[in-house]
Symmetry: C2
Amino acid sequence: MTNTRARILEASTELFRRQGMSGTGLKQIAEVAKAPFGSIYHFFPGGKDDLAGETIRRAGREYRDLVLAFFAGPDDLVTNVETAFAAAAAVLVETDYADACPIATVALEVASTNEPLRQATAEVFTDWIEVGGRHLEQRGVPPEAARGLIIGFITSLEGAFVLARSRRPPYRLVGAGRAVPGGVGVAVGPRRRGCEAESGL
Amino acid sequence: MTNTRARILEASTELFRRQGMSGTGLKQIAEVAKAPFGSIYHFFPGGKDDLAGETIRRAGREYRDLVLAFFAGPDDLVTNVETAFAAAAAVLVETDYADACPIATVALEVASTNEPLRQATAEVFTDWIEVGGRHLEQRGVPPEAARGLIIGFITSLEGAFVLARSRRPPYRLVGAGRAVPGGVGVAVGPRRRGCEAESGL
DNA sequence: GTCTATACACGGATAGAC
DNA sequence: GTCTATCCGTGTATAGAC
């Protein structure tokens, strides 16, 4: 039997990702986590906001490692970026367009309503930019370009998730990755063209 | 005194945009709209979902017209796109990073939880793509390219909104527009470079 | 059509037995 | 540390006076 605290965080992560924070009740989290309701307040004395802060930070780290792992792939950078988008698209399809960015919905919900949690989401995005930028620099991209590219990558991914979760099949997620490898191509080497039509996603 | 129904829709639009749908109560909507609570059910017999559907469709049309108006500006397309991003950034700053896309938060909230409303958001995004694509075609962009460009434009805008509302000042919204006019430049004429540093936003 | 009062469920939070 | 019972506010929805 895994840790109760861990199960609670897994449940809140999954539910926040799919339903948002205000759309998810603590009772539902306890139910999904197969944990007694009181355990939530035992492990997260600050209540829902406490749990949400931890959820945002933990999910943010995990998703960063998951996505940035593609940047260390054996292929060239442009291919790596395309692979990352294709992988995100595959998860999306497998989960019926539910599992996209784990913090995006919450980030929009709290941006103007809950300052501590807004900061938590901001720290996650900033972390992605810093760590991702370092990855790109290690691949030979100049620092200033690396920062612009990783921001463009995250921007495209988040925007594509919004459209894809709403529109589903008509929208092709990989198409959104096109602008990013285009930019990578400019910074790193010759641009590859015609890479947007293949890939079933 | 304006129409009660109209005031209710204005209130729901503004509140959904800032807090999302599940974070907004009908009582709060009535309060902001300065309308009696019962009027909501008078004008929207289907309750919250009914009101939300109307809100999504109406806000979607208005925002489309607002944004696409920039595509008809007197300058070249690249400049027009940059101006659109700059205008969106200005509104964001003026409203303390609250007023971004009016349907994005709701779209993520309902994507996996409310199929009729998910479809309403999907229809809005599809409408933006179709109408926006036609605008670009009128400016001389070939049909296939126009579709890719307008999707890229919306994707970048939505992604930039997520990052900007969360991170605030550190993030420069106009930077996100770079990839889009880059693509426009490829499709339409010579690329302009070095356009990402100016503009205070 | 306008507005108030209220029903009923569910939200977050807490107390306290075990 | 686990689990149940319960408090109280708020949420959606409805009834019905005016």
